[in-house]
Symmetry: C2
Subunit: 250 residues, 2 copies
């Protein structure tokens, strides 16, 4: 049986406000989970400033390496919204006012309010396909394998819902967690042995504090449910072997 | 008067758990704010998986481009903690058990508990300098312009406090915000004019919802307090010109 294809993605978070620490990004975690469930694995993310050369460089570095690139931010009406122009330059395409995007803006705004700044939200690389925005009409777009989304989490989340059905994913990555009130160091050697016995399962170890007690979450990930179960069983066994009751999360 | 030097940094967040969406990163926002106050500007961040080749590639891509690189994650005792080995490979240096790091682990653990897995936390590239860990002893390290920190936010934050005094920063980037209950599109054109008049000030526009009302935060950033004040005054004037009372945050 051939190995199922792993479908990969890179997420580019565009915005000075994330790099300055003013805004806590929430889009990466959302996209990673939503894409993961659709069988698309986020293998890298970058946070880049509102600078055209930085966006061009990151888009071109990533789009040849992965199946899909998702960008967030920089598609509003203000002068610092330069994502569309930067993506056009990255693809060597002219920036062009998209007729259907303009019609949607015309439906959303009174003619007096549809000023040149708002009309810029219809400017996209020539040949771009719209991504529907059920919240505020101003659409995102796809060009090549790059999907351009807004930065406002509520709007991004609404747009991704409609988008996922159109993307081809691989087998979703399944995750199961064994929690143990044990320190990482007390279980690390046995865990390395379990990892070596289950090379098709990726096992991660993450310390936590709960009810003032130190614990470790042992997280197994695989596209194969049977191999995942086998690794989870072995993890539970090594936890019990050091005298701790494992909690296998469903 | 010569322009003050801008001191730049790149942050590398290492960990499959961030790329899968399991863990919401909090370290970038903390580092960006702490470094910003010390006059060090984060100009890029990347989230990369627990894979040696990915870490080597990202470290070598970033360390030649910026003054400082900060990594978070992957320096614990388990098999998925591979940051130290990857950094050694990125620098072409042997991985080496650091004598003083080992002494600190010996002070922290009973001899019976200081197993091979925990001793791995003393393995660093040859020539690394320790970064003190006031919480759990296991130190981070510096090699060249790369600073290797843990992923657990509480420990990272304690370590950064002691570290900042040793770093040379530039002039801190100052930030002031004008909040307005106005949509971005209603103010975008006038704001672009203000930005054009104040090229040394970077002005960003960020929509928000407060008390069920749409608003826009207009954020001005500069290393020069006088230029910053001048831009903030102009921003307040254009907000008032559309009949909205600006709230200038202190």
């Amino acid at each position: 049986m051939p190995e199922p294809k792993v479908v990969t993605a890179c997420v580019l978070l565009i915005g000075d406000e994330i790099l300055s620490g003013r805004t806590q990004d929430a889009n990466l975690a959302f996209l990673a989970q939503a894409l993961g469930q659709a069988g698309i694995r986020v293998v890298e993310a970058r946070v880049i400033p509102d600078r055209e050369d930085a966006i061009v460089r990151a888009v071109n570095a990533c789009r040849s390496q992965v199946d899909y690139v998702f960008t967030t931010g920089g598609i509003g009406p203000t002068h610092d919204d330069i994502t569309a122009a930067a993506i056009a330059r990255a693809f060597g395409l002219p920036l062009h006012r998209h007729a259907e995007a303009m019609r949607r803006l015309q439906r959303q705004y009174d003619p007096a309010d549809l000023n040149p700044a708002r009309l810029r939200m219809a400017d996209m690389p020539l040949g771009a396909e719209l991504i529907d925005n059920p919240v505020s009409q101003a659409p995102g777009f796809r060009i090549g394998n790059v999907f351009v989304l807004p930065g406002v989490p509520r709007i991004l989340q609404a747009m991704v819902g409609g988008l996922l059905a159109r993307l081809e994913g691989g087998r979703p990555l399944l995750t199961r967690t064994v929690a143990a009130f044990a320190t990482e160091g007390s279980i690390a050697e046995a865990l390395a042995t379990v990892q070596a016995h289950h090379p098709e399962v990726s096992i991660g170890s993450y310390p936590f504090v709960r009810d003032n007690r130190l614990g470790t979450a042992l997280v197994a990930r695989s596209t194969d449910p049977l191999r995942l179960d086998a690794a989870v069983t072995d993890i539970a066994i090594i936890v019990r072997a050091i005298g701790v009751e494992p909690v296998v999360e469903p």
